[in-house]
Symmetry: D2
Subunit: 337 residues, 4 copies
């Protein structure tokens, strides 16, 4: 009855998922691990006291008889290969984002899964599991605010390392909005535009920061996403949905209201890892529960493809400031409706 999970990649996120499978979640255990650095796999087994084998390759993990389901937490460029192999082996697979580094790669996965006519892939878009976003979706779906017409978003980080480049604002940052808003609105994007405000003096010279990404959806909603990764003051995710009859906002993370030093004060998170930490637990429990039934739930490979296609358009829009770039998805297979 316990699900045996094989983990490919024991970097920070891989180890974090191993920790929660082992100490926090219910119904699964890690039975095999691998890493490009074999020593890292061995150390992970020791650290978490796993009753697991360190295998030489991801393919061995996937093939292993004591592996029922696969966790892909390796380097991005390897994701496509391991997800396809899991599909070939008929094993449920949880793949951290990106599902693939190209839209074509994601499409290959969609096609392979569609051929099976059975969902096996969950993509690691954890925001869909955040209690705040879920409550917001529940309000929207209740009809209280009417049909969504406009969404105002902000994605703010206190700062980023020097290696962060302008396109990463799309592929690493806005990618989360691209996924979660599709889910929130039950909609798809048809165009993107990027405009650049005056650059913050706190941004490295090579980085356009902040940026504003404007999206249009198939249903006609308009979305503005402020991306500001050197905002200094904290990690702050904002989302306000304007409907025909009212508005609804993403709740603020819990904070103790203080009155001190002539101020009403509530702390803002500064570490992005804390903001969605609880959602990782829910996300992976959802994978375990579905995988135990031989299938997958949550964000699908179709969602991974949609995110990839949309992100590509946004990156194209970055290169033509002010221009409106169309976003076109292939036809959605029935499996994902």
């Amino acid at each position: 009855m316990t699900l045996n999970i094989g983990v490919i990649g024991t970097g920070a996120i891989g180890r974090d998922h191993i920790r929660r499978i082992t100490n926090t979640l219910s119904g699964a255990r890690v039975t095999a691990v691998t890493d490009v650095q074999p020593k890292a796999a061995e150390e992970t087994i020791a650290t978490y006291g796993l009753d697991a084998r360190a295998l030489a390759t991801g393919q061995e993990v996937i093939a292993s008889r004591d592996v029922d389901a696969v966790l892909v937490t390796s380097w991005g460029p390897t994701h496509e290969e391991f997800v396809l192999a899991s599909l070939a082996a008929g094993k449920p697979v949880f793949c951290e984002k990106p599902l693939a580094t190209t839209a074509q790669g994601a499409l290959n996965i969609v096609k392979a899964e569609t051929a099976l006519n059975h969902r096996l892939v969950q993509v690691g878009f954890m925001r869909r599991y955040d209690a705040g976003y879920r409550a917001l979706k529940s309000v929207i779906d209740s009809g209280q605010i009417g049909a969504p017409l406009i969404v105002h978003c902000a994605h703010r980080n206190p700062d980023v390392p020097e290696r962060y480049t302008t396109d990463m604002a799309i592929n690493d940052t806005v990618i989360h909005e691209l996924d979660v808003l599709r889910w929130l609105l039950d909609d798809d994007y048809v165009s993107a535009q990027v405009v650049y405000p005056r650059r913050s003096r706190h941004a490295f010279a090579h980085l356009a920061d902040p940026q504003i990404v404007l999206l249009e959806t198939a249903k006609g909603a308009r979305i503005d996403v402020e991306v500001f990764v050197n905002c200094q003051y904290g990690y702050d995710i904002q989302c306000e949905v304007v409907g025909e009859a009212g508005t609804a906002r993403l709740p603020e993370p819990m904070a103790v209201p203080l009155r001190v030093g002539a101020q009403r004060v509530s702390a803002i998170l500064t570490d992005w890892k804390e903001r969605f930490i609880a959602s990782y637990d829910v996300e992976l429990q959802d994978f375990i529960d579905a995988a135990s039934e031989g299938t997958a739930a949550g964000p699908s490979s179709w969602d991974g493809l949609a995110a990839a296609v949309s992100a590509d358009a946004c990156v194209a829009a970055q290169g033509k400031p002010g221009a409106i770039v169309p976003i076109t998805l292939p036809e959605r297979p029935a499996l994902y409706v």
Copy 2:
């Protein structure tokens, strides 16, 4: 058509009222002033460019033919005399708190005004003119929260000077709650109790701070007032009314919500003068408007008496920590119903 006002006492509050009559309010002008320091009266006339005479005494001001209405902003112990003289002269009089320094003094004024069977006195309880308290009263009176059962209050000052003594927590501080809550609830007090929490290390050794004053009303409501005059963090007036069907709170003063330095922040006032500054304008305009009709509105001498009697009971309760001290008012004359 312009109301001629004579001002007795040109200290800080007197000059402030002269400023607002002259530069801000409508329908009145200052025609006579006096002060125990004749030079202060002269200087005030010069400072505000008044077309007014400096007179030798308050009695001369009251008697003056070019004075239609009187403002008593002199030293507290002189209030009773000047208010009684104004009543004797049949002139509307605005008296800063306290109406008198003893309950007997306030009763003398009530009797004199009752004998005229016509309201001429307004007492300077400005909170009744605060937009926040008025909005709160309007909500209570609307019945939305049902009958009030409990009121939780806090009266916090950042600090007080060394001359502030334990009884001043009643006579100078809680006195405002004593008046405004009677008005808010349309009720009277029947008993008071005082309990002393651990003393703040920020209070001078001679001062019990904070204190908690517990009141019971004729209708059975229970009120707790936290008085904390060395709270350090700001000047903060809180009031939450718990009714049979819901609760309502005094709104916070307007403040710009900021996000800076890992905090959501809104400024808290530190200077008590700023908190009710707008209400002084409304209060005095109300006096001008009523006095122009030959009468008085707002807090009456009866209210001044009720505050004095209630404050005396609270001071008695301070002396017997934990004991419940009854509060008894004389019968209310029909003039004040």
Copy 3:
């Protein structure tokens, strides 16, 4: 010492200003009025008990010896003529918006005033006098949030009458943001873009509602203004300024926080007239104070021109959805620096 004001136009706004000059503000009185309907002028004098003459024309009001300053609250197309006449007469003039119905008309006024090299005109952009906007500007100017990079605004009305057309969203609605944001940021616009979200089913068929207006400023700030005049839920003005080091928002109007019926609730205004009601008093007192010194303060004819030019560009942008329309102002005369 009392300023004598002549009022041209006794419609709703004219009478409202007459009421506040007469009953609320300090230092002025209405001595002459006129209206295209002579009976309306007479009735206004009677209603407010004015000691004033009803004159036949605006020109007579302006020329009148007992008129020191002029209030233009007549039909928009007549504003330019009366402001120019007031300038010719050397009298301070307060003109309700629009200063003129065309940019050329506003420019004519700017030129006439520049020729005098002395400010006499105040335009009725009352938001600059709102306590909330002033507090927000004070925070920005303090440097706490760093240089402004982005401004997110919303201008929402519960509904509009059927005669409201798509261009009125600019000329009657966004016009307030166009003025107040220039002042808030101490900046000018260089381009405008308009995009149309899906139309609300609550909007009349002839009206595109909501709309999003995107502005770029000379300093490089980016502004998005959501205009939604059938939002159903209330009259709601939002403004969030994102600076290099933090964000600041326009405070919400005061409202009593309630807990009733399984909800934390605060009322939202539904009548736009209530939202800025206090700012009209401050605005007109500012006019009285400056006019008493023979000059004008607050929003100038240059500000009126800038608003007109910017609004024209926004209307042009409405006609070319998605296109970026440049905004070009003439050189600013030294009088307005």
Copy 4:
């Protein structure tokens, strides 16, 4: 490595704990269950698909070789017996509140555990595991608001069934504040007073509602707890700590901020079970983790005794409205320091 748990009592709370052990928490399984109604035990095994035996008595569960730790979720009057038996068997035991129905019963347990000189008992005071209370405690412990001087609390339920009696306001309702405030302040109570506001018309005639419980602590803090179990509007737990340098409040439960129908609105919970639902998971995981090490953590039997003694004093205070009733604890054994 998996902890085998025996459950005594398969009523609502027992089944709920079985569900979370089985489906949500990590490291334990249910191996034996019993109930006074044998059929209920059988049905519970079936419902949750447990690999467990239904035993005839609690004593059999405690004695069973495949039971490592015991969960006591039976009828209150049986708690003392089963906890004592678990202690005798040297097995960790989680006991839902009350630990015993009398202070003497709780003292018996404290003595038995003290004799072992080893903690084995956890009492089901779940609020200590609530994220909000933990964040509040963390703020207090950080010293930001200085030493706590006053705590203002409210415990409001929308309504209660007719069988709810005045003393249950202490034993079933305030009992949670009695425990959590001791923990929050790291303090003990020295006296209690109860005062009765006017009774809500929504309360049954036999019930005094609301009530105010006033507590004094050994360190001198003063606590007021409003207990209002027919407040109509929702289940609402409030806690504001006033320290020497500032205040801190319990955060509100997460809710989506809406703007609809002329109101800013956030939902308030109405079902008490939802308010602390997440804390039950954390609480029981803490038990599993400690029990796996052969001991117990969290609220101890000493805490259970302190709550019982304090509640007895509060009930005595209910009988003498206004009187101050002393609270005296036995000396605290070193095991619980």
